[in-house]
């Protein structure tokens, strides 16, 4: 791997170790905010080094930097979750946790460096937190008939190029971009959707009261 990436990795481990101390609900909010500031700076450095690796056409290093950048992003989101919980904003906290889960997944898919940095353990922790901190969620999953799907890397029709979704290419993840929906076939309620942001936010209880699913609080008519 590139020497600059090796050197960044040392700084990365140090900052992650330092900021990881504040990934608990009991830690002071002021330290968590400070940790987010440090991590945001580190993330900018990671993004900038990744761009350099892209310019050098060093795909291995560019993907490693994408992986590290995503891990930093995951920790920022985890800290934001703890802060949002303290601020009595569980909906925001849940969204931050889901963002953290997605970021770790990107990190693990982008480069094997994530595995050396215990991304699997971090994945398990974040999924466990979802079960322990939040009530069981009701998710929606749409079934879409798609006419046109594009590759995020080259812009060609997905499948006509050699890029495959879930793989990193020169510091960028390949994913499918939906360009044309032919039909919405169905919308299902599922336990494990691909997108956990699509969930029930409000419901009407047996007495006819509209409530927030996360907090159980009554929702006023104009909300």
């Amino acid at each position: 791997m590139n020497k600059e990436v090796d050197s960044f990795l040392k700084e990365f481990k140090e900052v992650i170790r330092e900021c990881g101390k504040f990934c608990f609900i009991s830690r002071g909010k002021e330290f968590q905010i400070e940790a987010i500031t440090k991590l945001t700076k580190l993330k900018q450095e990671a993004a900038s080094l990744k761009e350099r690796m892209i310019r050098f056409m060093d795909e291995e290093s560019a993907n490693a930097m994408l992986s590290l950048e995503s891990l930093i992003n995951a920790m920022i989101n985890e800290l934001e979750m703890w802060i949002a919980l303290k601020e009595d904003n569980p909906n925001k906290a849940f969204d931050s946790l889901i963002n953290a889960q997605s970021a770790v997944r990107t990190s693990a898919q982008a480069h094997c460096i994530a595995i050396d940095l215990n991304a699997e353990g971090y994945t398990n922790k974040l999924h466990l937190l979802e079960k322990l901190l939040f009530p069981l969620q009701i998710f929606f999953s749409p079934g879409l008939a798609l006419e046109k799907v594009e590759c995020s890397i080259c812009g060609k029709e997905y499948g006509e190029c050699d890029h495959v979704a879930g793989k990193a290419y020169m510091g960028r993840m390949c994913y499918k971009i939906i360009r044309e929906v032919k039909e919405i076939k169905e919308i299902s309620i599922v336990e494990e959707p691909a997108n956990k942001h699509a969930r029930v936010l409000q419901f009407i209880d047996e007495e006819g009261t509209k409530r927030d699913w996360m907090t159980w609080r009554r929702i006023k008519k104009d909300e």
């Binding site: 889960q101 770790v104 997944r105 990107t106 990190s107 693990a108 898919q109 994530a114 595995i115 991304a119 994945t123 398990n124 999924h127 999953s141 749409p142 079934g143 879409l144 008939a145 798609l146 006419e147 799907v149 997905y158 499948g159 006509e160 190029c161 050699d162 890029h163 495959v164 979704a165 879930g166 793989k167 499918k176 939906i178 032919k182 076939k185 299902s188 599922v190 494990e192 959707p193 691909a194 997108n195 699509a198």
Partner: protein, 163 residues
């Protein structure tokens, strides 16, 4: 994890609805068995991924759609990975059975990568294989389970083919 059942005559159905007749291996649309017209056909969203992976690994497939035609895809935004229906002809299984092993390994290797960053107990794959037996009967093998379970699928296919 595996379920084997009867399936319709793939070549006859392809002919009836005006599709290319698969000779070796093909990726069939999800509703191939029930569609009355070609226009109704719909592929799994994972079909183009498998096509790209096979192409990169030199595995030839006979698309059932003609070059100028395009079958839409269905994406159910599910957490699990639902693969396309893979048709394997009797001729391929008799002459080049190892190609099926390679084709499945390519998918399995991709899925190992795809499922990274997801807890192990949530990593589920679904794959359906249609096998033409030596006696020209068509059988459906449905697999649902962890990715490493795909390893044994090639053997199950060969077993069904020899029935």
């Amino acid at each position: 994890m595996y379920r084997v059942s009867d399936f319709i005559d793939v070549k006859k159905k392809a002919r009836e609805i005006g599709c290319n007749i698969p000779s070796h291996m093909a990726l069939l649309p999800r509703n191939f068995e029930t569609a009355l017209y070609k226009e109704e056909l719909i592929h799994e969203i994972t079909t183009p991924t498998v096509r790209a992976l096979w192409r990169q690994n030199g595995i030839n497939e006979t698309p059932i759609e003609k070059p100028e035609e395009k079958i839409p895809f269905i994406d159910e935004m599910a957490f699990e990975w639902v693969g396309p229906i893979i048709f394997v002809s009797a001729m391929l299984l008799s002459h080049d059975p190892h190609l099926v092993t390679i084709a499945l390994n390519v998918i399995s290797n991709y899925l190992m990568q795809w499922f990274k960053g997801i807890p192990r107990d949530s990593r589920k794959a679904k794959l359906t294989i249609i096998v033409e037996t030596k006696s020209s009967v068509y059988k459906k093998i449905e697999y649902e389970g962890p990715v490493d379970g795909l390893e044994n699928l090639a053997e199950v296919i060969r077993g069904v083919h020899n029935e």
